[in-house]
């Protein structure tokens, strides 16, 4: 591969207080699938934004197809043959597929012609998509196909994909990878951003690893282990969470026919959820985003109420109780959204420690607050969970995502819950903080707590769960032992929990 399509040399971009990219150089050949690897904040997004013309570099130069390449707008980048599929879609739900595609084009052809081309492209590349369907009715995977086809209609020479698999089921990932391989065979280069190392091993020919804005290494992912790549990303040896296997104890949390209407008109209502979680056990709840995860957390934390006997904690009916009454009994929760839900952004860490800790840590007396005790509790969280901050008087929003997440999870764990429910515990968290959080959850279970981990990260769930269940359209599949589950079985559970339930009833 001596031919070079895109060459990046010494690209530098500084923001106030942080150098996002520091003299970054790498090359992509035509038909190469090149991975950009790095933790959150390593500078991957800034780098691709410069290539796509969204951000201008402070220094350095790029060539594309042999010519100097200095895109000042995404329009210029597209004209040169660079296309990008963003992590977050920009689609109108009330329009159909063809109309959405037309909106992204410079000079769209008539609808009928465009629909024909969309069918053609979707057949050629194995991306099943009906141009007449409303985007509002499509799944996340199908919506992503709309974005990809929109890019492919421009015949790009380089396709940038930012975390494309984070919203997909394993089966959909398989379809996507087939498409990418076809594109590759036709000579289209792909710049693939992800932190899922197994995917990168199967898909990519080369990888550039970024850490703190600098290139710290290049490798051929096929010759590396996931672990060695992770260690290059983090820059230190990675500690894999582990614990002793233990027989689960008594049933702590028991959900019986829990149905809760979503408070959000676009949310997913929980339907007839059955679940038992035992002491010392971690139950993993997988599922694609928006299938009832937030509603499940709210129903368990007490933010939405349920019939009393739909939720039992250690045999006691608690469905009707509010968050504080449940805390008193030992059911604690950590929501997905750190800023604004699990923590108040503008309040200090001391005040945020008080937010959920007031009852179990006895931080109040007769309604009056014990500030020294609250400060002390915040200090204990900061110390025990290695939260990097100058002190508990700092505002929650001044912490990085990973540090705030450690604080939020630590706050609940230090209160010695009988049952802890967490949603997306390592979302947007760097690898070392994620490992620390997983280890803490496993230690908590080893000490006898029942733990429910709701997550979209299947690797995470397989790593720490004893049993695995999937949420699909508000229904929960029957939990199965996590050990020995194959990717196909998990995919079936994620995509078909509903069908399986029907079959079960008929049988």
């Amino acid at each position: 591969m001596n031919e070079v399509l895109l060459s990046v040399e010494g690209l530098t971009k500084a923001y106030p207080g942080v150098v996002a990219n520091d003299a970054v150089s790498f090359q992509i050949a035509p038909g190469e699938v090149h991975a950009l690897l790095g933790e959150n904040g390593a500078g991957k997004s800034t780098l691709v934004k410069m290539i796509y013309g969204l951000v201008r570099p402070d220094a350095g130069r790029m060539t594309f197809g042999g010519a100097a390449f200095e895109p000042t707008t995404p329009h210029a980048a597209r004209a040169a043959g660079v296309a990008m599929v963003f992590q977050h879609f920009s689609l109108f739900e009330a329009l159909n597929v063809a109309e959405n595609v037309a909106l992204g084009m410079e000079s769209p052809p008539p609808q009928r012609q465009l629909a024909r081309r969309i069918r053609q492209v979707s057949e050629t590349y194995g991306l099943p998509l009906d141009p007449d369907r409303l985007v509002g009715d499509l799944s996340a995977g199908e919506r992503q196909r709309v974005e990809i086809i929109r890019c492919l209609l421009q015949d790009p020479k380089l396709l940038i994909m930012d975390e494309p698999t984070s919203v997909l089921t394993p089966q959909e990932v398989g379809i996507l990878f087939e498409t990418l391989r076809k594109l590759q065979a036709e000579g289209t280069a792909i710049l693939y951003i992800s932190h899922k190392l197994e995917e990168i091993k199967t898909l990519c020919d080369g990888a550039t690893i970024l850490r703190l804005g600098k290139v710290v290494g290049e490798c051929n992912p096929r010759e590396e282990s996931a672990r060695s790549m992770a260690e290059m990303m983090v820059g230190q040896e990675l500690h894999t969470p582990s614990r002793e296997a233990k027989e689960p104890g008594e049933v702590v949390l028991d959900l019986a026919a829990l149905s809760v209407a979503s408070s959000n008109p676009f949310g997913t209502s929980l339907r007839n959820v059955h679940l038992e979680v035992r002491s010392g056990e971690i139950l993993g709840v997988g599922g694609v985003a928006g299938n009832g995860q937030d509603e499940m957390l709210a129903a368990l934390s007490g933010e939405t109420s349920a019939p009393p006997d739909a939720i039992k904690l250690c045999g006691q009916d608690i469905g009707h109780l509010g968050p504080n009454a449940r805390r008193r009994l030992g059911l604690l929760a950590a929501p997905e959204e750190r800023l604004g839900h699990a923590a108040a952004p503008d309040m200090s860490l001391t005040e945020n420690a008080l937010l959920t800790g007031a009852i179990r840590e006895q931080l109040t007396g007769g309604g009056f607050l014990h500030w020294p005790k609250a400060r002390d509790f915040a200090g204990r969280i900061i110390e025990a969970f290695d939260v990097r901050t100058p002190g508990p008087e700092n505002a929650a929003r001044s912490l990085s995502g990973g540090n705030l997440q450690k604080f939020v999870i630590g706050r609940e764990i230090l209160q010695r819950p009988a049952c802890l429910v967490v949603n997306q515990p390592t979302w947007g968290v760097d690898a070392s903080a994620a490992a620390a959080i997983r280890q803490a959850l496993m230690d908590l279970a080893a000490e006898g707590a029942a733990v429910v981990v709701i997550s979209q990260d299947l690797d995470e769930l397989m790593e720490i769960s004893d049993r695995f269940a999937a949420l699909n359209e508000g229904r929960l599949s029957a939990p199965r032992p996590a050990q020995g589950l194959t990717v196909e079985e998990i995919g079936m559970m994620l995509g078909g929990a509903h069908d399986m339930e029907v079959a079960h009833v008929e049988a």
Partner: protein, 360 residues
């Protein structure tokens, strides 16, 4: 290009300094306005800010200062609790009127009996009147999710009609030769709220205002309820997660602000105003909204803001009388003060950066 960068956390220094910066900016811009009107700007600013406290006739103005600041502070403290939680009681003026009517009504019902218990009963009735008036938007909001801003505001006009009806009908002075308005409570010792120390303007309403400042400070900084109020205002979702019951908080905040506004009305009708009359209310309930925000919704800030606004009222009147400044110029001056205070507030959360423009 000048850019605003959000600070990682609010600057304490700037939060404390910005009100002073705003006052200085107001003096500069106001001075320019007065100079443009052909008046001596230094003298005008001195008449407004200096003379009422230290000038030749300060013995008169100083008393007026507390009389005007007392109800403003009392009402603003109540409003600030709700405002902190994102509950917008705009109808303090109506609660003030109803509190005055209820309190005065109880006092007049006892006329001409004498007894130590009459005034305390009036105080309770005044607070209850304001509380009940505020419960109308509170219950409509918790039951039917109506907008408390609209309901509380419209109830002001209902209260004004009620006030007119009372001063022409039920509470009209039977010995008043048919003029509208109730008996003068100043002349009925058991029901009057006199000046406690001659020349200071200090009456029970001012004492209540100072007490409210202290209680609100303790509530917000040391009590769980105050913590829940602040949390609800900053992030409602986090508040729900922390176990705050939103409907209870709505009732508590609207009830407290209504009761304090009712108290302010009672102390005013039994003290400085003396009687229920058609035009008894003078806009304290609306001005208190400005006082609450000038004081950054902080109890001590509200205390200072109430005094400052009272000062500009009194000084403004003096400037109108002594320097023939038009009333609209004084109002513009007061508007500038609010404008600058809110404008420089941005410095507490943001900092300026000079920066070259960047491709989007």
């Amino acid at each position: 290009m000048i850019r605003l960068d959000k600070r990682p956390q609010p600057s304490r220094l700037w939060a404390a300094v910005t009100p002073l910066v705003a006052v200085v900016l107001t003096m500069l811009a106001g001075g320019a306005l007065f100079a443009f009107l052909g008046k001596n700007p230094v003298e005008a600013i001195r008449t407004i800010f200096w003379d009422p406290v230290f000038g030749e006739f300060a013995w008169y103005y100083r008393g007026q200062l507390l009389v005007k600041a007392g109800p403003l502070i009392l009402i603003a403290i109540g409003l600030s609790l709700g405002f902190r939680a994102g509950i917008w009681n705009i109808g303090a003026e109506g609660q003030y009127i109803v509190g005055a009517i209820c309190g005065a009504g109880v006092g007049l019902a006892f006329y001409p009996a004498e007894g130590w218990y009459i005034f305390p009963l009036m105080v309770i009735a005044g607070a209850l009147g304001g509380f009940v008036w505020a419960m109308i938007p509170a219950i409509l909001k918790t039951r039917f999710n109506t907008n408390e801003i609209l309901v509380s505001l419209l109830l002001v006009y209902v209260a004004e009609q009620l006030l007119a009806s009372m001063s022409l009908g039920l509470l009209r002075n039977p010995e008043g030769a048919g003029f509208p308005g109730s008996r003068n409570l100043k002349q009925y010792e058991a029901a009057s709220n006199p000046e406690l120390f001659a020349g200071t303007g200090m009456h029970w309403g001012v004492v209540a205002a100072f007490l409210a400042v202290i209680l609100a400070y303790v509530l917000l900084n040391r009590h769980m309820l105050g913590f829940q109020i602040r949390l609800t205002g900053q992030s409602p979702r986090a508040a729900r997660f922390a176990g705050v019951r939103p409907n209870l908080l709505i009732v508590v905040c609207l009830g407290a602000s209504g009761a304090l506004a009712g108290l302010a009305g009672l102390f005013e009708v039994s003290g400085p105003a003396g009687q229920i009359s058609i035009d008894f209310n003078s806009g304290y309930g609306f001005t208190a909204i400005i006082v609450a925000f000038l004081g950054r919704l902080h109890p001590v800030g509200i205390l200072l803001a109430g005094l400052l606004l009272a000062l500009t009222f009194i000084g403004g009147e003096a400037a109108q009388a002594n320097m023939q400044l038009p009333a609209s110029a004084i109002q513009a001056f007061q508007g500038m003060l609010l404008f600058f205070l809110l404008a420089v507030d941005v410095l507490a959360n943001y900092r300026f950066r000079l920066k070259k423009r960047e491709a989007a």
